[in-house]
């Protein structure tokens, strides 16, 4: 990649590793938040019905 010259592989791999880790962290946090929110709604629903 002419923009990055001889160090292209290093620069691109640093960006790839970092963005994958950040995206994974956001996705896992969001997924757990949604699951717990649904579980709480279920538990509160059962309690209201009971």
């Amino acid at each position: 990649m002419s923009l990055l010259g001889a160090y292209a592989l290093y620069v691109l791999s640093a960006y790839a590793v970092s963005l994958v880790l950040l995206a994974g962290l956001v996705w896992l946090s969001w997924r757990r938040a949604e699951r717990v929110r649904a579980a709480l709604a279920r538990v509160e629903g059962v309690r209201a019905d009971g």
Binding site: Y7, V11, A14, S18, S29, W30, V36, A39, L40
Partner: protein, 246 residues
């Protein structure tokens, strides 16, 4: 209104709900702006060539690795002194975020080190203290998972956090303490003479702002999740007690 009102879980949930989407949006805008600016619109550095572009990931993640631990320390101390559950849950929520920031700092540092120093890793004071900080993060997360009683877990992890703070401080000042090793001094300083050149400095600040905002967004999101988990446990325990009486 007192700051301590936010230690009430209900107040925390109500206050943070409308703020969270805006925080995530601001984090996204700042991160994309800082990284695109740094990657595409800054020149190569005379000695480091294009590897200088790694600075927009390495410096912000390293700063957040240390600052996340400092935030966990403050939250842990509040828990130990005032027994506010939200502060213990906020410390727990910050652990995995700080761990990932430390991992990014270590990975980008190794990738940057290979072409500049000729090696992926050296037992340099700053690198070594960062590796120990990473291990402390793993231990902190594991300790929370290993103990069933949430208050006992909060107490023990708070103590671990205080001990680990030594390495958080060492990670920041190791270069100054020992004045040896391959790692350079700080890229950002109150002394303008020590800062990187302006052409790199401004996109770096934008990138740092993005990392800070992303950290805040994730910690709030994860704290809200931990509060909900706690509520589920309380409701389930109450239901079991009710069944026991019946």
């Amino acid at each position: 209104m007192s700051f301590w009102e936010y230690a009430n879980p209900k107040k925390f949930m109500v206050t943070t709900a409308p703020v969270l989407p805006w925080l995530f949006a601001a984090a996204g805008v700042a991160l994309v702006t800082g990284l695109v600016w740094g990657f595409f619109f800054t020149p190569e550095e005379a000695r480091q060539g294009s590897t200088v572009k790694i600075i927009y990931l390495h410096v912000p993640s390293a700063m957040m690795a240390i600052n996340a631990w400092v935030m966990m320390l403050v939250a842990s101390l509040i828990w130990l002194v005032r027994r506010h559950h939200v502060s213990a849950l906020a410390a727990r929520a910050a652990g995995p975020v700080g761990m990932v920031m430390t991992l990014i700092a270590l990975a980008t540092g190794a990738i940057w080190g290979q072409p500049m120093w000729g090696t992926w890793w050296v037992w340099d004071p700053r690198l070594t203290s960062f590796l120990i900080l990473f291990l402390f993060y793993l231990g902190y997360i594991a300790l929370w998972e290993a103990i069933d009683d949430p208050d006992t877990a909060a107490d023990l992890t708070a103590v671990l956090c205080i001990v680990g703070s030594v390495f958080a401080v060492l990670s920041r000042y190791a270069v100054n303490f020992w004045n040896q090793g391959l790692h350079q001094g700080a890229s950002l300083s109150m002394d303008k003479q020590e800062n990187v050149a302006n052409v790199f400095y401004i996109p770096l600040l934008v990138s740092i702002a993005g990392f800070v905002l992303l950290f805040l967004s994730l910690v709030i999101l994860r704290t809200r999740t931990e509060i909900r988990v706690r509520r589920i446990r309380a409701l389930e325990a109450r239901a079991q007690q009710g069944e026991g009486r019946a």
